[in-house]
Amino acid sequence: MIDYLIIPVIKLIVIFGVCLFFIAYTTWLERKVLGHFQLRLGPMRVGYHGLLQPIADGIKNFFKEEVIPENADKAVFLLAPIISISAAIILLAVIPFGKPITLFGKQITLYLANPSIGVLFILGFATLGAYGTILGGWSSGNKYGYMGGLRASAMIISYELSMAFSVIAIIMLSGSFSLVDMVNAQQNGIWNIIRQPVAFFVFFISGIAELNRIPFDMPEAESELCCGYNVEYSSMKFALFFLAEYTHLFVFASLVTTLFLGGWQGPALPGVVWFFIKTFAVIFICIWIRATIPRLRYDKVMKLEWKFMLPVAIANVIATGAVMALLG
């Protein structure tokens, strides 16, 4: 009873609570860090250095007016943010946050589930999250939203490929789909970023593209599509899209940590602390890139994927296989 019901439920509440807290504060971090990159201060007025800003935003979103456009396909319009947020939050279930710890004489693992298909689970459900974007754009009955949805679907299909191929190299090295096994495979101190720099490079860039972040934010290009797929959304429905985006960012960063940066491993500090340090370092790099590089043109984004990233990723898989076969 206690093993099958109570411990998982407590773990569920703690992990989702902590992660959603971090995700809410990722929005604050993004605004703050982006501000400092642009010689501004970012949020300052709500709480000490704007620390209560996410809470203020949430309250504000709750009290905003809900608008459903006349041309909208109402059922799909309401469904889209739900798909978006649920497909994003379910990803948190398989991320290993740290070594198993012992509490009250019981060994507790710091992840909710360790399916034998962990990486595939994340890749699959990350793609499903794109349905929220696409359907949100389509159902708004708005030209810009429509274009945003169209771009999102084309981009997700493309970048999913190179992302999967770069992960295959890691799967070959660790011999398992499970994220826990992948972290354990990096136990000797050589992180996968050293053994697989090309895969890391491809994974990082395709990941940013999958997240629809600058410089690949085609579906919501402000200057071209005036916010694209979520242009008709207001109130909490918009907030759900927003939250889903940052959940994806957090999951992406923790995935990079798990696959390439050795997960929870590190000297001195406990594993969970190392995990979050690495995760937020990756998030910082994402914000740094956002602050620097302007948006690519749409055709160049596609060109980059099909003519550069995908061949490089496939060549990397072949090279990894060849080296592994040679070394036995």
Binding site: G35, H36, W288, I293
Partner: protein, 157 residues
Amino acid sequence: MEKSEIINVSKDRAEKGHYVKPILIGLGFTLKNFFSKPITLQYPDQKTKRSERWRGLHRLNVNENGELKCVACGLCAAICPSQAITVIPYEAEGQTRCPEKFVIDELRCIFCGFCQEVCPKEAIRLTQIYDYVAYNRESCIFDIQKLKNPDQFEFKG
């Protein structure tokens, strides 16, 4: 812009895919910005330094007895290019001339400062207050009471 701030990316180089180096330069530039001090001023708490000759809201000066220095000569009303000043004098036996009504429409005023230059008694002065806000137009028409003490209207956040 200083010369060091311009990053040159020629068209040929971008077409050939030689954009790695410019991107790295850009990343370095933004990182340098990240560690330098932000130039933001927290407006209502901190204010920019204004020139000493800054022309803001008007003040009617008083003498040591607490009476208005103004003698209601009407020069300011005459010179005002936007006709924002209305002066109605009050005259009584054995008393200095003083304004019965002195109204400045701050919405009409262009803050040229002619009134303070033309005033023979140094009765009208322009203060440094520039951020007076109001909910309606009537509150922007200042009478003697408001003009005596314009400091209360400075926006403090």
